[in-house]
Every structure is written in structure tokens, then in C-alpha cells.
């Protein structure tokens, strides 16, 4: 009886301290410094930034998608030298705190896409391209393009970033042989779209709030 109580207490204590440590592992100060660092490149409100390279919007992005991308960068499943360097030093606790904070941001889209492509883009987004076997983007990315878990938000994403990603899909994603990941779902879709179609759908989603 006494023994059982003691061991339960011990187990509880262990659980408690590990939980406590996971929380403590990221101090508010460290988190703030890391967020400021991410925002140097990703924009002061995570809205994305056009520099020499097009740096994607993270604001409002699904935490599950963000976490998987950070892991993909550090495991080299997704190839990008810059983000490999950024991601491989993040502890799991820091990753969790960052993706939660980015999910909560909600700045206006950066804009900049040709407005005359929006109508054609909306049609592709909502209806897909049946003749080319392309399903509606809305069926996975959501009717308002806000995404869900592993399906990323596209609303407000930089149109030039989307263009670069979709036209380079198979060179950048799912790059670890023998370790297929969810990027395989998008691969045939990215391949099936023509350049003008990619430009149109990218322009449409880039203006969504």
C-alpha cells in the first residue's frame, strides 16, 4: 500500500518534471529572439518577403504542415540550403513554439500578382482541370485555401514563391530515396499543370485573406 503510493508519486513526479522541462526548454526570451530571426527573412508579421529569393508567408500556416517542413529541411527530404541551416539547430520544443506563434499571425497578403489572371485561377482552384486529371485544389487545400493539418494554407502565399515551388517540385521535395512523404500527393498535380495554369492559380490564391 505504502509502497504503491510512493511509486505512484514517483511516476507522477517524473511525468511532471518532464512536462515541466518541455515547457521550460524554451524561455520567452529565446523564443522572441528566434521569432525575430525568422521574421528578418519571412517578413515582420510573417507575411513573406521578396528579396533575391522569394521568401514564403508563414503567417496563418497550419502548424502540422510547418512542423513537417522544418523536419523535411533538416532531414534533407526537402532540399534548401538556407532552411537546412536554419532548421537543423531548432529543438523540438522550439519548433513547436514557433509554429504555434506563426499560425496565430494574420497580416494582409503581400499582393503583387497580375490581377487579370485571378478569374482563370479561381476556376482552376475550384474545379480543377478535368481534361488533365487535375482535381480541384479546394478539395485538399480547403474552399477558402486555409489548409488543414498536412495540407498547407495557400491563402496569401506569394505568387512567385508558389510558381517556383510547383515548377521545381520533383527536384526539391521527397528527396530522400526510400522515404516517401506526403509531398508525393502533390507531385502528379504539380506536373500536370502548365506554366500559364500555375501562374493563374498562384495569382488567385495570393490575394485571398
Amino acid at each position: 500500500m505504502g509502497l504503491q503510493f510512493v511509486s505512484r508519486a514517483a511516476i507522477l513526479a517524473v511525468l511532471f518534471t518532464t512536462a515541466g522541462r518541455a515547457q521550460d526548454a524554451v524561455s520567452r526570451h529565446d523564443l522572441q529572439a528566434k521569432m525575430d530571426y525568422c521574421k528578418t527573412c519571412h517578413g515582420s508579421s510573417g507575411q513573406g518577403f521578396r528579396a533575391y529569393y522569394s521568401i514564403p508567408r508563414l503567417a496563418g500556416q497550419q502548424p502540422e504542415y510547418l512542423t513537417n517542413q522544418l523536419q523535411a529541411f533538416s532531414e534533407r527530404r526537402r532540399t534548401n540550403n538556407i532552411m537546412f541551416n536554419v532548421a537543423h539547430v531548432l529543438t523540438p520544443a522550439m519548433q513547436k513554439a514557433l509554429v504555434t506563434d506563426f499560425h496565430e499571425l494574420n497580416p494582409k497578403p503581400l499582393g503583387g500578382a497580375p490581377k487579370d489572371l485571378v478569374t482563370a485561377g479561381k476556376k482552376i482552384y475550384e474545379e480543377g482541370i478535368p481534361s488533365a486529371d487535375i482535381p480541384p485544389c479546394a478539395s485538399c487545400h480547403g474552399p477558402d485555401a486555409k489548409g488543414n493539418e498536412q495540407f498547407p494554407r495557400l491563402a496569401g502565399q506569394l505568387h512567385d514563391y508558389i510558381f517556383n515551388k510547383l515548377t521545381n517540385w520533383s527536384k526539391e521535395r521527397g528527396q530522400k530515396p526510400g522515404e516517401p512523404d506526403v509531398s508525393a500527393i502533390m507531385e502528379p498535380i504539380a506536373h500536370g499543370l502548365t506554366e500559364p495554369q500555375v501562374k493563374a492559380v498562384a495569382a488567385y490564391v495570393s490575394y485571398l485573406e
Partner: protein, 200 residues
């Protein structure tokens, strides 16, 4: 004789296209700048090279000088005066003109620090939250739009610029440089300035 004259006419027309206010004030306007910024605008201490600098960036800086938001000692001493009477059209024409000249690397950094500078430039320092410069300034430090070319600028100029943000000068500059530069150590600044001075 006739030919020379028509050649000259073509030159004048070419110039007039770049400098819509025309007349022969144009060569004077350029000479007013290259007097300090060096032959072919390749830089002459302490004035940095302007050749091949990005047009939008030059225009922004000319505005910063004339509005006195770029407020470090050399800017006050030299550039506040040089921009006091520049019309927006002249500033635009000069920015365009200098952006079309070919740059020349100053090559005056410390070769021993080049490798360290290259590493910070290309990879950043993720442990201390320093962003990789390459993302914004480009793989050859050539810049784009409002983000300046850094490749080939003089060591002393780059060093001074990076130090002065940390000292609080030009704090109203477009983000993010004040924050990035104020976190660099003296050694890191010397390494970056050395590396960049050699980039062609």
C-alpha cells in the same frame, strides 16, 4: 567631319534619353558626383563605388540623404550637401545612369578573413540567430531592386556601414539591416567586409 557631327548628335540624343532635362548640364551633374565617387564611379575613399549599384537603392539613398535620415558623419559632411538641390528627376536620371556602369571590385580586404566572411554571408549563423546575407543580397552579392549590391565595395566603407548601424546611425533605414548589423561582432564585420571587397 559631317560624320563626326552626326555621331555627336547621336551621343547627345542618347544622353538626353537618360537625362530628360537635357542641355549640357548633364555631364556636369555626373561630374559633380564622380568628383568624389571616383573615375567611372568606381569609388574613391571615403566615397563608395556607385557603378552597377541598384537603381532603386540609389534613389532611396538619395532621398535618405536629402531628408537627413541617413545621418552618419560622412553622410552629413558630404552627401547632405550634394543632395540639397537635386530635383527628383535629376536623382532618377543619375540613379539610372550609375546603375548601368560596370562595377569593379575594390579587392582591399584581408585575404585571411575571406573564408570566414564567405561562410557568414552564404550560411548565416543560425545558433546566434544571424540571417544568411545571401537570401537578400544574392549569391554574387549583386543585390536586387531596393536591396544593394555589396560585391566589390571597399573594405573600409563596408566595415564602417556595418559598425554604424550598431552605433545607432541610419536607424530609420529600411529593415532589417539595423538589427542584423548590431548583432555582429567586430571580427565578424571585418570578415564580411573582407570577403565582399573581393566579390566580382
Amino acid at each position: 567631319m559631317k560624320l563626326t557631327r552626326s555621331r555627336r548628335a547621336i551621343l547627345v540624343i542618347g544622353f538626353a534619353a537618360v537625362f530628360p532635362w537635357a542641355g549640357h548640364a548633364e555631364s556636369l551633374a555626373i561630374r559633380n558626383c564622380t568628383w568624389c565617387h571616383g573615375v567611372s564611379a568606381h569609388g574613391y575613399s571615403p566615397a563608395p563605388g556607385l557603378a552597377g549599384q541598384r537603381r532603386e537603392y540609389i534613389q532611396n539613398q538619395l532621398k535618405n540623404f536629402s531628408e537627413h535620415t541617413r545621418d552618419n558623419p560622412f553622410s552629413r559632411l558630404y552627401m547632405w550637401g550634394a543632395t540639397a538641390n537635386l530635383s527628383p528627376a535629376t536623382a532618377h536620371g543619375l540613379a539610372f545612369y550609375f546603375s548601368t556602369l560596370s562595377p569593379q571590385a575594390a579587392n582591399d580586404g584581408n585575404r585571411e578573413l575571406e573564408a570566414e566572411g564567405r561562410s557568414i554571408y552564404q550560411l548565416g549563423m543560425p545558433d546566434s540567430n544571424t540571417a544568411a546575407c545571401v537570401v537578400c543580397h544574392g549569391p554574387n552579392a549583386e543585390g536586387v531592386g531596393e536591396i544593394p549590391r555589396l560585391g566589390g565595395l571597399a573594405y573600409t566603407y563596408l566595415k564602417r556601414r556595418l559598425e554604424q548601424w550598431g552605433e545607432g546611425y541610419h536607424a530609420a533605414a529600411r529593415p532589417p539591416m539595423p538589427r542584423i548589423a548590431s548583432k555582429l561582432s567586430a571580427n565578424q564585420i571585418e570578415a564580411l567586409a573582407s570577403y565582399l571587397s573581393f566579390v566580382k
